[in-house]
């Protein structure tokens, strides 16, 4: 039998001015199940709370209703007070008679009547409240960072410096990401390698960072604080413990005509290679696709067709027979920092995207993309930093830069702004003009978006000091014309056609998420938008969190991001992870869903609607132990308590603690007599 105490607050005059608090107490005293009803000037004050605590003790209350302000204001206060008096805090509820009553009504009779109704409704609810216990989940204080670009490196370093172990997984042979390919960076024009390489080395040598390069996340099980992550270590064919990075194998390799990924196809590399001289770890990887020996093996040759690298290696580190291996790491939190790729307009397009055949990329050698220009401008690049065009190695005297290639073009499948191109194109014109003083840099643009500290100044400098010619308009066609590259464009400010006989064209192609992001997102139960960028939990208030508790986002996997933003996001994710790791147990609100396994038929409607991936499949066994069916199970560590699963369950086999069907039914019923 319920023994409910009802406590009506005057809130000074805030409530009492329009609500007859005495009459409310009087009416509630008569309500079935209510054993005590008191009104008081300030219920949230210390004496007010004492009054409640004393009433709990004196009357052995099973539930408390405080008629006062909004629960958003003082629910915690009164629940804490009740807990101090030995009552489970979750049998305390508030009836809002201030914001929803006294403050919005004039008529004292009407307001008093409404206050009584509201109090009765909540009393009826509280009769069905169950004592709940805060959910505690153990936390494995170990983070996984996926992606070893600048965002991943920064997140790993921040978490490791915070005192926790980090597993850093990079799918390429070296960490560094796209930033390692850049020549100089905006808006300061400092050398990218100079600021990045020390971070790479620091991450590699950090005692609390475990680095897996040439590896990918294979499988993710578990939930916040308790992930179990399987990592595929792709066969490197080079023993990481034995290799000393001498480079003899690379010199010995006879296959030397393979496009270098690091140089964006502008130079060649051998089949066994270190991606770039500053690679971390400085250790080669054998590209089995292009290796003569492996080509022979795939053809079924009885005898290995090559073996030069193995013969050369004094350490005996080359292993042709190694297979992919798998390691499983226990992880508490995951930072996704998989970065971006550039829209490859010259190749076959994935579904939903259209290429730009009219721009000649991939056909005209002197039409290149932004990353290729970075390599041409880089001192470590294929030209040693000299500005020479790919086709004949001549110095280009006129270079056309085209912005928004793919970006902001729903016709091509990408309606968003790639954000970094305005800045890097301005930078490119400067780098070019600094190297070719008498050259001409022509930029076709839609808008100049240079929001950021020092950004507008930077792009103004490109125009005003370095003399880049900015033409507002689009380019319709780019094609080869003798040893020139003809660019047909339109100047929308002066309304005239523009034809430029260029020596080289640089396309600022759109930023897209990494290939395979969809599969990774599914492994992590993280949603992604129509363009494939991962979704944050809230665009304003939770920008680095995802809807999967314990999974965070840093850098360009979430949207196009420049370096400072990526680093800032990485720091933010590290703060979230360190916050999570600050206690041994994670405390969760017990207002979570619970499935009645006796009546669940395993239709998994709940699974389809759960935004958090909290629904798991559980086997049901018959009396002989054979699996005879499946039911849904809500992981209380993952559930956030929205209750969407409850409403879609046809047989009402899910309940949401704190808002059970019983409670809502009682509330609706309580209004019957109003």
């Amino acid at each position: 039998m319920s023994r409910i105490g009802v406590f009506i607050c005057h809130c000074g005059e805030n409530i009492a001015r329009t609500v007859d608090c005495g009459a409310v107490a009087e009416a509630l005293r008569e309500h079935p199940g209510v054993v005590v009803a008191e009104d008081y000037k300030y219920m949230c004050s210390d004496p007010g709370q004492q009054l409640i605590k004393k009433a709990i003790a004196d009357n052995d209350l099973t539930g408390v209703v405080v008629c006062a302000c909004s629960p958003h204001m003082h629910e915690k206060t009164f629940r804490r007070a009740a807990a101090q008096a030995g009552l489970n805090p979750f049998v305390v509820e508030m009836a809002n008679i201030r914001e929803h009553c006294s403050w919005i009504h004039d008529d004292r009779g009407e307001a008093t009547a409404k206050a009584i109704d509201t109090a009765r409704t909540i009393v009826e609810k509280v009769k069905h409240n169950k004592p709940l216990q805060t959910i505690r989940i153990p936390v494995t204080k170990r983070a996984l960072v996926i992606g070893g670009g600048i965002a991943g490196i920064q997140a790993a370093l921040d978490i490791a410096d915070g005192g926790h172990e980090v597993v850093l997984v990079e799918k390429e042979a070296s960490i560094g990401g796209h930033m390692s390919q850049l020549s100089e960076t905006f808006p300061t024009l400092d050398c990218s390698q100079c600021i990045l390489t020390p971070r790479m080395v620091e991450a590699y040598q950090h005692p609390r960072i475990k680095l897996y390069t040439w590896s990918e996340v294979e499988k993710v099980d578990g939930y916040i604080g308790n992930f179990s992550v399987t990592i595929r270590r792709k066969a490197r064919s080079v023993d990481e413990d034995l290799c000393n990075g001498c480079g003899d194998c690379q010199a010995a390799c006879p296959s030397r005509r393979i496009d270098s990924e690091f140089d964006a196809g502008l130079s060649r590399r051998p089949a066994i290679y270190t991606p770039f001289p500053q690679a971390v770890p400085n250790m080669p990887v054998l590209d089995r696709e292009h290796c003569t020996l492996f080509k022979g093996r795939r053809k079924g040759l009885a005898k290995d067709a090559c073996g030069k690298c193995k013969e050369t290696c004094l350490k005996g580190a080359i292993d042709y027979d190694g297979q992919d291996t798998f390691v499983t790491e226990e992880i508490g939190a995951i930072v996704v920092a998989t970065g971006f790729q550039l829209y490859d307009i010259g190749r076959e397009q994935p579904a939903g995207l259209k290429g730009y055949g009219e721009y000649g990329y991939g056909e005209v050698p002197d039409v290149i993309d932004g990353l290729q220009f970075e390599r041409l401008a880089s001192a470590s690049g294929p030209t040693g930093g000299e500005m020479l065009r790919p086709s004949d190695g001549a110095e280009p005297k006129t270079v056309v830069f085209v912005k928004c290639v793919g970006s902001r073009d729903p016709e091509k499948g990408m309606s968003y702004c790639s954000k970094i191109c305005c800045m890097y194109t301005a930078k490119h014109t400067m780098l070019y003009k600094h190297k070719v003083h008498d050259g001409r840099a022509v930029v076709f643009y839609m808008d100049i978006r240079a929001a950021g500290k020092g950004y507008d100044e930077f792009s103004r400098r490109a125009i005003e000091e370095d003399g880049a010619e900015y033409i507002r308009g689009r380019v319709s066609r780019i094609f080869r014309d003798g040893d020139k590259v003809k660019v047909w464009g339109y100047d929308t400010l002066s309304h005239r056609q523009v034809v430029v006989d260029a020596d080289m064209v640089v396309l600022a192609t759109a930023v897209r998420p990494q290939p395979g992001i969809g599969e990774l997102a599914q492994k992590l139960s993280v949603s992604y938008d129509q363009d494939g960028f991962l979704n944050e939990a809230h665009p304003k208030l939770r920008p680095v969190e995802t809807n999967t508790a314990g999974v965070y986002l840093a850098g360009a996997c979430q949207a196009p991001r420049d370096i400072p933003e990526s680093v800032a996001m990485a720091g933010a994710t590290a703060a979230k992870v360190l916050g999570l790791f600050s206690a041994d147990e994670l405390e969760r609100d017990p207002s979570v869903a619970l499935v009645d396994e006796r009546t669940c038929i395993g239709c998994f409607n709940c699974e389809h609607v759960c935004p958090y991936g909290a629904i798991e499949h559980r086997d049901v066994c018959d009396m002989e132990g054979h699996v005879c069916g499946h039911v849904a199970y809500v992981n209380p560590g993952v559930c956030q308590g929205c209750g969407t699963c409850v409403a879609v369950c046809p047989s009402k086999s899910v309940e949401l603690a704190g808002f059970t069907d019983d409670q809502v039914y009682a509330e609706i019923n309580a209004l019957a007599g109003w």
Binding site: T599, I601, G602, C603, N605, V609, V648, S651, K652, D662
Partner: protein, 292 residues
Amino acid sequence: MSELQDTARRLLDEGLVQVVIGWEEGPRGARPVFVTSAADCERLIFDARCVHNLATFLNPRRSQITALGKAAVVVKGCDAKAVAGLLREAQLERAGIVLIGVRCGGVAGEPATLAPPALSAETVSARCWGCDVREPESVDMLVGEAQPEPPVTADLDERVAALDALSPAERFAFWTKELSRCTQCYACRQACPLCCCERCIVEKTEPQWIETSPHPRGNFAWHLTRAQHLAGRCVGCGECERACPVGIPLGLINRKLQQVVYELYGYTVSEDPAVPAPIGAYATDDTQDFIE
């Protein structure tokens, strides 16, 4: 006919299934039959009297049927859609059943006859109006001869439109009268291939959302809930209405909701279990004209 029987015989003979669920000649027209031996396959028939939605018998909680072993089930279009519904909701595994599709040109509105009636606008079941499945596609094998479109019959959409044209008060009066006959016997639920819960919401007593005393208020709650739970899932097989002992025109409600999910979300019930049901999915640009 012999093609169907031969197919069933082969499945049983080869041990691919242990039971074939189909129809046989009964004392009052066709009736469902569970054939467990090859010798009995000659009992199997299919004609316009075979109205029953045999997917109903695939409910995994019908343990007396699952106990017979792996089943092959004879399906016409509406049955195949119902099977897809059960697959979509993880009630079945596709590999666990064999589907024998029959080409169907419509079924009879009054099937309790000793011989199959010739189908005409007068005799065809209202459920067949607008049915576009002559040959179920999701089946393992297909038998029977090619069938014509069902005769054009009383247009269910027109009857729905006629109700829509009334004022809410008139519709309320209409349904009050119709639903006042309901005794909450739940024959509609039992006949429905997709009402397959272990414990129906109407049987949940804490709290008792739906009043089970058969007065119009409880009946409204029951039929609103039944229809809402079937919105976007109902295959329009019409068995609920046929099963109703007091003749409540449930087909009108089901048809109305089929129209609604199509108009609002472009959804038509599909034979492909991979197509998600409309309720339980969403699009960010779903219509919200009704929301202030």
